[in-house]
Symmetry: D2
Amino acid sequence: MVDRAYALFEEQQQARGIDLNVVKEKLKSLKIETPSWGYGDSGTRFKVFQKEGVPRTPFEKFEDAAQVHAVTGLAPSVAIHIPWDKVEDYGKLRSHAESLGLSIGAVNPNLFQEDEYMLGSVTNADAKVRQKATAHLLECVDIAKETGSRDLSLWFADGTNYPGQGHIRQRKTWMLESLTTMYQAMTPEMRMLIEYKCFEPAFYHTDIADWGMAYNLAQKLGPQAEVLVDTGHHLQGANIEHIVAYLLDEKRLGGFHFNSRKYADDDLIVGTVNPYELYLIFYQILDAARAQDAAIRQNVEQIAYMIDQSHNIEAKIPAMLRSVLNVQTQFAKALLINHEEVAEAANRNDVLAAEHAVRRPFEFDVTPLLVAIREEQGLPADPMQAYLNSSYGKNILVRGKGGASW
Amino acid sequence: MVDRAYALFEEQQQARGIDLNVVKEKLKSLKIETPSWGYGDSGTRFKVFQKEGVPRTPFEKFEDAAQVHAVTGLAPSVAIHIPWDKVEDYGKLRSHAESLGLSIGAVNPNLFQEDEYMLGSVTNADAKVRQKATAHLLECVDIAKETGSRDLSLWFADGTNYPGQGHIRQRKTWMLESLTTMYQAMTPEMRMLIEYKCFEPAFYHTDIADWGMAYNLAQKLGPQAEVLVDTGHHLQGANIEHIVAYLLDEKRLGGFHFNSRKYADDDLIVGTVNPYELYLIFYQILDAARAQDAAIRQNVEQIAYMIDQSHNIEAKIPAMLRSVLNVQTQFAKALLINHEEVAEAANRNDVLAAEHAVRRPFEFDVTPLLVAIREEQGLPADPMQAYLNSSYGKNILVRGKGGASW
Amino acid sequence: MVDRAYALFEEQQQARGIDLNVVKEKLKSLKIETPSWGYGDSGTRFKVFQKEGVPRTPFEKFEDAAQVHAVTGLAPSVAIHIPWDKVEDYGKLRSHAESLGLSIGAVNPNLFQEDEYMLGSVTNADAKVRQKATAHLLECVDIAKETGSRDLSLWFADGTNYPGQGHIRQRKTWMLESLTTMYQAMTPEMRMLIEYKCFEPAFYHTDIADWGMAYNLAQKLGPQAEVLVDTGHHLQGANIEHIVAYLLDEKRLGGFHFNSRKYADDDLIVGTVNPYELYLIFYQILDAARAQDAAIRQNVEQIAYMIDQSHNIEAKIPAMLRSVLNVQTQFAKALLINHEEVAEAANRNDVLAAEHAVRRPFEFDVTPLLVAIREEQGLPADPMQAYLNSSYGKNILVRGKGGASW
Amino acid sequence: MVDRAYALFEEQQQARGIDLNVVKEKLKSLKIETPSWGYGDSGTRFKVFQKEGVPRTPFEKFEDAAQVHAVTGLAPSVAIHIPWDKVEDYGKLRSHAESLGLSIGAVNPNLFQEDEYMLGSVTNADAKVRQKATAHLLECVDIAKETGSRDLSLWFADGTNYPGQGHIRQRKTWMLESLTTMYQAMTPEMRMLIEYKCFEPAFYHTDIADWGMAYNLAQKLGPQAEVLVDTGHHLQGANIEHIVAYLLDEKRLGGFHFNSRKYADDDLIVGTVNPYELYLIFYQILDAARAQDAAIRQNVEQIAYMIDQSHNIEAKIPAMLRSVLNVQTQFAKALLINHEEVAEAANRNDVLAAEHAVRRPFEFDVTPLLVAIREEQGLPADPMQAYLNSSYGKNILVRGKGGASW
């Protein structure tokens, strides 16, 4: 059945002018970074449920992550969070990762869990706190040197809960100061990815509240600073793919933190609330990959695709598997868009045909295609089932409860 | 200056046809319940900052609450949360409260912090979990008997994060079953207040998601079941005062959990984001207090005004003081509305005059009025300053960090 | 290729335990009502663009609607709007419809386009206006008798723009009074479908603002009153499928006005913004179709599926074709859900497996299935292409511009 | 009473360290531009209700606007919309305005009401349409020269309803091209104010969707391009005062279109939904007016305060009066903020005191202050009453219905 399915799929796509060899090549090049913290416990302010088998150390997190990569071939790097993943010897962590077939991905400073940061870290009115926060950023640059990480991924919880609590413009200046210091410490190969978020944990104003503020910072800092789009960090109704296209056109899209949301920053598994949105994001990216401007195309090449989710109730490793598979699925579908067909319809003002040309590939079942590339890559046809069939999930139960959490 | 201010205020209001004696009487009858948990530490999923001096026991929470009542005369009762406020001897807690001039208010069951409740409490697919949850509800009825509490205040975190995770209609049935059991255990003097919430901690569906679901439950349960409106539990744009008016017209408004929100369920201090909304809620209540239907007027009399906030970064006792004072302020302003003036303008289709008749009293500074009633009640003119001038805040620092939290 | 595709699809579904014969039968029974006004010009407050070829009379609207039904077999009835579709002789309109293979569907009163209704129709403070509005409702009952319509579909623009402009509780009473009068005039075969909307054109409060208010009205009126869910009439974040499941459990779901929205009541083509939401709605309906309670199953049978969109920039007939096809597609996908598989996963608390059991069928490409039933029904395999290949679209251009609009 | 009220108010403010002479001077310098179209009929897509007495010509609009200025002293300029206010001789219109004590304010091109613009004006895929649209922009520059207008106020309805309908990045380029052409035609005294809007009338993507896109355009164009903030053009939850502070810090805040919204772009009277938000906007502006950076202070000086509302159901002239008075009221309150008090509290991390320092002045009744400056300016103490007492409103009824609308 599998072979017939693929043959039929290929025939179908050929008829649409889609060359599956090209599609397959792009599919095989897709890399999605998983976050070390996604393997640990997380929750809401109401409760963090503890799961048995959750990794107890950064080393165990990499072991779990290796499982995701082993069956999917999609997740060769793992983002770390400092100090959650602080170790004495990063060389050792790096060797551990490499021994598992992984690399260490983005380094994420953490500036929201110490008492001093209650009213801000790099935007705190107290210069000592700002210095401490900036020192942590510099520490993370150093760690990135040791881990061989290209990206420093910055999210700030900084903001205020009430008018008057902090001085908005002053804080804006302090943010730039701190990031400038960090920027100057980076090696030429490094990138600073600046994340924005509309609210939470700050409930009045957030210092970097939207893409415009992150982008403006990046522009002031220099070419190694780019914007990081977390799909859950927008106000209701925001057109994320528009922002993505916009940033690509400005060559400032650093990467993604993928997850799903129905309400606020729900941090659900990517692709479970509105999979079409994820598909449309890839549509914009693939459109930009065809841009005449080489700099835009280069930006596309350097996008960091990363998962950032809270698996509050889900089994962690399967949740991560589902996440990278969902991204792969929507990416595969988007690769079937015939851009000429869209353009041709749009150019004759045929709104319905243009919309259909974009949406139709979303309706294709790409399973035959995914099975085919997995076979070609020596991967299991059904990665989730392969993982569940393994004994790994049971074996780690000996870790007990009370492992890593954030 | 104070006397001249009041004289002028009185003159001004008389000219508008407002009898300040009536206003004062109503103002003096305002009672706002504060929640025991509002005196403890709280936070977001990112961090719970610990404050020095936070109460370590339910008894200390009442001592803090007594401070709020002592300087405002507004907060004579305190809601408790079980098991956060579980004590061996509720009679002793009640005596303690009474010795402080307080009574024990609504009893709040907690069905979201035990591992079994990860996938639901009264709507869990496992009958044993549902029984355990229902048993806790019955325990709370028993506690309410001991504490002399009229109200059982129910909020359920129950819901799902993903389609398919739970069966929506079955869970609806289970919810009704459990509440029916609880309802039947209540004494005739008790009321069941059913709270609703659009989301969080559940991110796909919440079993009691909006006022309509809470109201429908209340109708099925009987006359002692009413709806509890938490001002932070609505989707963006919801007209809360419309819901309030609607529930009053149906004689099913049990009470409020007051707080402010700009984004989601931010649980900020009431009256700090859009104070006009709070005023408009009181406008609807005071309008209903003039209804011809005696049952509506009776509903108004029995509304439980309660604070429900998370003081993540604020000093707890001052935060609570500010909260009850903000409620008092908006209530005082709403008492200055001349309902005949509104009706007269509306009846001649003068939209602008009607709007102005509602909004104008919001612009009055009611400080002279509040100072006057405080003086008449033997309370400090400036309750916040009176508290800050006292040594209480410093004395409790000996409690250290690590007190109660949720 | 078509045959092989179907064979493969059938094999695949059989392996999942899905009997395609059952699926096909249900698919063939799907009926979607299109609205007469969807064939005319519409727009935003900024501009109504006029299209050539738009129907000039109710008779021409039915002719256009017949095209949609002819190629899809999905749209045998057409909703009418009074007075937009007012004719001297409804028997003649009915005959015209029947001669085209159509029937007249829901009758929609219009109570928002006359000057008297500026401040409300059935909730206007002026008794004469309320009487006029109620008389129009009664007129529509009479029309429904002539047209043989089962459903009276009620949407009220009534509401206020400012606090004080109208008396919320009084208006609530007037609404019930008017609907009671109408209800009593209905024949036992008729149904009153009560629509709700959160806002627009009223921007402060809307008299029937949410499902809870519509449902409460229906309960007071009697068993022939049900709730009409317009998918674009909710606040951001509302879980529509939850509301659908809830109403089915209460046996009060009258039907749908399908359309898509990204922001407010955008009235875009159904299935173009978040097709997964439409699928999840059908999931709840199909789940209810399996309920033990026969009354719930009967409610499912009587759901009126209707399109309600504004084709501001689209070609009207193709837009309607796309709409009914999108509904059919998602319905077809939802029919592939294996409910036992979902239940089994949910019962063993496997959140991820349950979610996947619901979502996986959404990924299937149902084209082979749809082509198969079209062939069996003697319909074109590609209805859109069939219509575009016909000369109808060109022929109606003689109508010129300036046809029907709302 | 008036004198005593002012004396008391002055005493009160002096005690707070507020110098009323400074406050009065700033209050007297407040100028709010009213829009010509705000005197005409407007509505929703459902209905434009026609009012008697609505101006029939641009000249009559200025006559109505003169009434607003005559009684308030606040509204000396009037924005015009081309072609709604197209006249043969702009010199004549200007003379007419001046004879009424008015000047012609911002010139607003209209690029959304011609058939060619259905799929975009300056971002249309058709070069001829783009050229026509750009020509209109140039025409408006010419008109501004004739009218002596400093500001060109640009709002584009351009956007798409469906993915694929238009090419997002190409349209971005075309937008910049067109604005560059316009920018180069402007005299050195002119300013281009670029407005953004999240949605409506476009329901998928809007070419200038948020402040970041408008700001980025302004940066590319040059120092005469600035951002225009319409208070109703944001997604729910957006912190508008944060955006205002941000733009001031970047010296790119061109001005405001004031109005209120509860849901979408409701265009209600400013200050009627959340007056505190308007106050907080002025708080940020007044804070920036104290900035060390002279360029920021200069930006504050040049902010254009403009009304942009749809008076769908209100009497037009009184609606405009209410609007400018509401702005004046909140500006007056914000002038009472003691910025040192806020800073002092914030600097000692007293969140509650800082919040209170910002919010407390909002509670003052500024009527005595406003009456005082009106008296000093020779204006009626109650401008609304003065207007209503005049015969103007009755006299214009001879204009009948069917006047200007948009």
